[in-house]
Assembly symmetry: C2
Homo-oligomer: 193 residues x 2
């Protein structure tokens, strides 16, 4: 594991934010260096190539996602509530999503268009959510449908994020959240029959 010196961690933080807001390719070393407050030259002491920064950023996103999911598991006992908490992300992060879309979805797509080797690492962020959601649905007794349901909830989040970014319509986001909550309620009602 790489040691996180203060400067290195600051670079990853700034790059993480800038890659999200401006896109990976459009974000220059100069922009990151300026955000951190160091010179461009110093930069290369910590990261030799732009791809190295990208990998560090993705790794940071993976870790913060893991941490968040562990928190959710600890703070909420009911798997259905946990799923609802995930669904509500599109509201909690509504402002950022309106401006920049979903961090995972937009980075994954950009790397796909670039034919970038780190694409699969970016997809791994989705895998974390997918596996976690699947686990919640399994706990709820949906042994067969768990992965299908997990992907459906993920698809919901991506659809909402993309259109929220396009139309800047938070009422639409709320309606879709309500609709997915209804959908979840119906599945739970079905399973109790």
């Amino acid at each position: 594991m790489a040691r996180s010196t203060g400067t290195r961690a600051q670079i990853v933080d700034a790059a993480n934010r800038l890659f999200y807001e401006q896109g990976f390719e459009h974000t220059s070393f100069a922009a990151i260096a300026e955000a951190v407050g160091i010179s461009r030259g110093n930069f290369y002491h910590h990261f030799k190539t732009k791809d190295e920064i990208l990998n560090a950023v993705i790794e940071a996103r993976l870790q913060s996602t893991r941490d968040m999911l562990v928190d959710w598991d600890r703070d909420e006992q009911d798997p259905a509530e946990r799923v609802r908490r995930f669904v509500e992300i599109v509201i909690a992060n509504g402002a950022d999503i309106q401006s920049y879309g979903c961090p995972a979805g937009t980075l994954t797509n950009e790397l796909a268009k670039l034919g970038h080797p780190s694409r699969l690492q970016a997809v791994a962020v989705f895998d974390l959510f997918r596996t976690w959601l699947r686990g919640q649905f399994e706990e709820l007794g949906f042994a067969i449908e768990a992965d299908d349901f997990a992907m459906h909830v993920l698809a919901f989040s991506q659809g909402v994020a993309t259109l929220s970014n396009a139309f800047h319509d938070s009422a639409f986001v709320q309606r879709e959240v309500d609709r997915l909550h209804d959908w979840l309620g119906e599945r739970l009602a079905d399973s109790r029959r």
Copy 2:
């Protein structure tokens, strides 16, 4: 209206394809010129800036979308079938979507991250589909819910496209299509009660 000389149309076609496959910013003049088979210098006889090409590409997409929707209106009388036809796009264009995502969604997001002035023009492609879908739902008697339903169907398409691009899983796409068909069937059944 700009005259479409052969060369100009070829440039727009090539740029349209490359912007989709590689992204707007990552596509260089050299790449477009090479795809068309002309020199870079000749390029500027037709378009003075990259933004001009972008606008021409968006305009071309708007026009081809309008044409497609007119065709659908003419070829299919049942509004429910028309909506189903839209839903099936994610299968018909499955290969491209797996590789590059949705043309409208990915361009809109890229322009959002770039803070590009043509972002709203890109959103206009979504508006065409939204208005058209709303019209179908209105014809089906959903006076109040028409726009909500239209946005829901659009969100479906974006969610499926993003995850299809991430996971390359066509079985997932088919499941989501089936799910939306079911959803539409339920709405139609409700309205007949």
